[in-house]
């Protein structure tokens, strides 16, 4: 057996599995999306149908807000953790990164425990002011949930990027008279740019497609994944849900591809 043949044999199972359980189904999804009562225009429904459009805008705004908030939080914490050595630092890092692969459903439940009807925040506010604050089931609860699963991943990326920063650059800026704030503004944040783009894109794409959290919070907030789910299971509206998922997939993929062409590194969503 020649080496060439061997390499092909190694590759074959992957090709078969991928075609059978990924490419073929996705092709079928595209076809179903185009063959409903609306025909090809189902693909435009996401923009033309007011209800879908509103959901779409909702989802994008929520994902964008999550991304920005996560980046700000992770940058402050990541810079701090990478730049200082103090007792308990390792524990703190572990606390900030262990929820890395919690499923969305669990995150949703944790948000309920925090801000739900029997939640901690409600109990505290009830004790303090007599008024029970409950927001787990609102869009803010969903936002908190998305924050919860984005923070660990983005902190890890930012910390790795900070570690690679050349401290010489900061020292050079200081030697030229730059105050600590000016150093952050002119040297550190620009140097972290690629890490922001990469991890921001992942956070955004993940938030766009997140389903488990919204499902657990059982909110009446419309986000795209919930819309797809209800169209499919409750309304049995196969073609629209197919078209909407294709749209969702394309957006998430495009964001990541764009980020990758910007930052040159490997960018991928997960979860």
């Amino acid at each position: 057996m020649s080496h060439r043949t061997f390499v092909w044999i190694c590759l074959l199972p992957l090709v078969v599995v991928t075609i059978a359980f990924f490419l073929l189904p996705i092709a079928q999804l595209v076809v179903v999306g185009a063959t409903g009562p609306r025909g090809l225009s189902a693909y435009l429904a996401i923009l033309t149908e007011p209800r879908y459009r509103a959901t779409m805008i909702n989802t994008v705004v929520l994902a964008a807000a999550t991304t920005i908030a996560t980046l700000v939080i992770a940058t402050i914490a990541g810079l701090f953790l990478q730049r200082h050595r103090f007792p308990g630092r390792a524990v703190l890092i572990a606390m900030l990164t262990f929820p890395l692969a919690f499923p969305g459903v669990v995150v949703g439940f944790l948000i309920i425990l925090l801000a739900g009807r029997q939640g901690l925040i409600g109990a505290i506010s009830n004790a303090v002011s007599g008024e029970k604050i409950v927001f787990a089931y609102s869009i803010f609860g969903l936002f908190l949930g998305y924050l919860y699963f984005s923070i660990p991943r983005v902190i890890l990326t930012i910390m790795a990027a900070v570690q690679k920063l050349d401290v010489g650059l900061e020292e050079a800026a200081r030697s030229l008279g730059a105050s600590p704030w000016a150093v952050q503004r002119d040297v550190v944040l620009p140097a972290l740019g690629p890490a922001f783009v990469a991890s921001g894109a992942i956070a955004f794409a993940t938030a766009m497609g997140a389903f488990g959290t919204a499902f657990t919070l059982a909110t009446n907030i419309d986000v795209l994944p919930m819309l797809i789910y209800t169209e499919f299971t409750l309304a049995a509206n196969f073609s629209i849900s197919a078209a909407l998922s294709i749209g969702l997939g394309v957006i998430a993929w495009a964001i990541l591809a764009l980020a990758r062409s910007f930052s040159g590194g490997a960018v991928a969503a997960a979860g």
């Binding site: 057996m1 080496h3 390499v7 044999i9 590759l11 199972p13 992957l14 599995v17 991928t18 359980f21 990924f22 189904p25 996705i26 079928q28 999804l29 402050i76 914490a77 810079l79 701090f80 200082h84 103090f86 703190l92 606390m95 900030l96 990164t97 262990f98 929820p99 890395l100 692969a101 919690f102 499923p103 459903v105 669990v106 439940f109 309920i112 425990l113 925090l114 901690l120 919860y148 923070i151 660990p152 497609g209 389903f211 488990g212 499902f215 657990t216 994944p225 797809i228 789910y229 499919f232 197919a242 998922s245 969702l248 997939g249 998430a252 993929w253 490997a266 991928a268 969503a269 997960a270």
Partner: protein
């Protein structure tokens, strides 16, 4: 003085963020062993909820393990040779294949699940068996295995090792067993941890693909969240943490080790 204030400010902020992540977990752990969460921990500590979860959901938990192990086996058997082939072949086609198998990282699980349902929903016995869920998990976790192994290949010049073994007269299959796989071990282990962890916790795909007879652990969780009292839901979450956190810790340790090397 100024530096001290900045330090304390940042420390406080970071602690706050850590609290946001950790406090709910502690709440759920404690709720899972409290007699009555509404009345608080003074109502007593009990394992009755954990036992109840076990009675109700042992099947789901067991199936999750079966699927996770099966997913691992498939990704190993399919993914490791493929990673090797993609690495030594190089070229445009390999890059396209790599790009395609990484797409499930970008496309939401919901969309992949819909695609699988619309394609294979009609194949009754396949649709009804847990193999249907397995297919989804394999597609979702495969890129992690392939990339993790390829990352190792990229760092150790596997091509020269392979050629060296070939010059000694080893056949491709022997080389694969004796040279490639042992050298790829760190990547294979890291990838395996990732695959098992993700498969155990996968919900987005699984919720769409499951049937009443093929429920997994996270599907059961969603069930419990929707229909059980808070203590039971928490106890179930507690069981999930006990299973998943060691895997996450092992994964982190692996990543740290990789950085040191």
């Amino acid at each position: 003085m100024r530096d001290r204030l900045i330090f304390l400010g940042q420390l406080g902020f970071t602690l706050l963020v850590a609290a946001f992540l950790v406090v709910p977990v502690i709440l759920s752990l404690s709720a899972g062993v409290t007699v009555n969460y509404f009345r608080g921990i003074q109502s007593g500590i009990t394992l009755q909820w954990v036992r109840q979860v076990w009675e109700l959901y042992a099947g789901e938990i067991f199936l999750s393990f079966v699927i996770a192990i099966a997913t691992l086996v498939v990704t190993l058997v399919v993914g490791v040779p493929a990673a090797y082939a993609l690495h030594v072949r190089g070229g445009k086609l390999s890059r396209v294949i790599e790009e395609i198998i990484t797409l499930p990282l970008a496309i939401p699980g919901l969309a992949i699940a819909l695609a699988l349902l619309l394609t294979y929903g009609g194949f009754g016995s396949f649709r009804r068996s847990w193999l249907f869920i397995l297919a989804g998990h394999v597609i979702f976790t495969m890129p992690f295995m392939v990339r993790s192994v390829m990352a190792v290949f990229a760092s150790i010049d596997i091509k020269t090792l392979d050629e060296g073994a070939a010059s000694l007269g080893a056949s491709p299959w022997r080389r694969f067993r004796n040279v490639i796989v042992p050298n790829a071990m760190p990547g294979i282990l890291a990838g395996s941890l990732m695959v098992v962890t993700l498969s155990l916790g996968e919900f987005n795909l699984t919720w769409m693909l499951h049937t009443p007879l093929t429920k997994t652990l996270p599907v059961g969780l969603a069930d419990a969240y929707a229909s059980m009292r808070l203590e039971v839901a928490s106890a179930y979450t507690l069981i999930f943490f006990v299973m998943i956190v060691p895997l996450l810790v092992a994964m982190q340790m692996f990543a740290d080790e990789g950085q040191k090397r």
